[in-house]
């Protein structure tokens, strides 16, 4: 049936994309060759093209898949009825969890997007800017409601985003500390600092 076949194909395409993500993360987009990817998949390089359109397509399917997950989650948070602090904690928590769960893909979306081709590049950056603006709006609301200290909302947001996006540092030495502890620790520090 056409349906099953297309499902299978989508699945195979996804497998390739996930293996591509692990290579793109480890070596970077440009330093990853289609022959290496093919090796990892267990196939000749040219055979990949039965399932994908191009190397670039792999990159942008990874980037937009992740970008969309963040966008969808943000919409949920915006429609929830917690206060601003609760919303920000929710977002931080989501960032940490998705980073730990889909590390390769999130890493690629965070670090290899610059190799996207137009118009995907502009598209991606617009989506990101919009995401940041909506986070800033949450902070501004929190300040208005006296839940958040009266600082510059962009600084607060960029600090949070930098911290959670840089979580790759963490991945290197995650042996000693549980995800649970990590999540709690980061939220605590970003919300209340480290001073006693």
């Amino acid at each position: 049936m056409a349906k099953i076949k297309s499902t299978n194909k989508a699945t195979k395409k996804e497998v390739i994309a996930i293996k591509a993500a692990s290579l793109f993360k480890a070596k970077g987009f440009n330093a990853t060759s289609m022959r290496e990817l093919a090796d990892l998949v267990g196939v000749e390089a040219s055979s990949l093209y039965n399932h994908i359109g191009s190397k670039s397509e792999l990159l942008h399917s990874i980037c937009f898949k992740i970008a969309n997950e963040f966008t969808v989650h943000l919409a949920q948070v915006e429609n929830s009825n917690g206060n601003s602090v609760k919303k920000l904690q929710d977002i931080i928590s989501f960032h940490i969890r998705i980073m730990l769960k889909k590390f390769d893909e999130v890493f690629v979306a965070n670090h290899e997007w610059k190799h996207l081709q137009e118009p995907y590049l502009s598209n991606f950056l617009n989506q990101r800017r919009s995401y940041e603006k909506r986070l800033i709006a949450i902070v501004s609301e929190g300040i208005k409601n006296k839940e958040i200290i009266n600082g510059e909302p962009p600084i607060i947001i960029f600090t949070i985003l930098s911290a959670v996006r840089g979580l790759e540092l963490w991945h290197r030495s995650k042996k000693n500390i549980s995800e649970q502890n990590l999540e709690e620790g980061m939220i605590t520090q970003l919300t209340t600092g480290f001073i006693k």
Copy 2:
């Protein structure tokens, strides 16, 4: 005289390295060709090799130059006599300032180091791990002295490092807020959080 000549050569080499950093930052190490770099310098590609050994050499001179600046500063902080909180604030402040001052090179050291060749790669990573451990030691001391909340020192350090390393986000939209504000805002948030 030999001395002047070698000084001139070092200068020219540095100029090339700085221009290389701006390209490596914008396009990534692998996506930057020696022909592009030569264009930027105003010379043919092969002429670059009168001043540098190889493309790889450019990358590792950038990475280690920056790594050494951080190492030297850390040693100064360790030998200073402030308390742990003061030391950490000092380090955060240094990260922000050097990021703003030598943005391209710091960015490259933070994001393109994976393209270093051995043994420079191992060397670089060792230096980084050592840097992180020494920061963790400062936090541990602060906890012992009841200056810092009783959390996991690695989480505190990784959160701080992620936040300051991710400062590139900032660079995109630095129009509205001064460096002074940025530095104060980040230090405030990382030390005391954003909750009122």
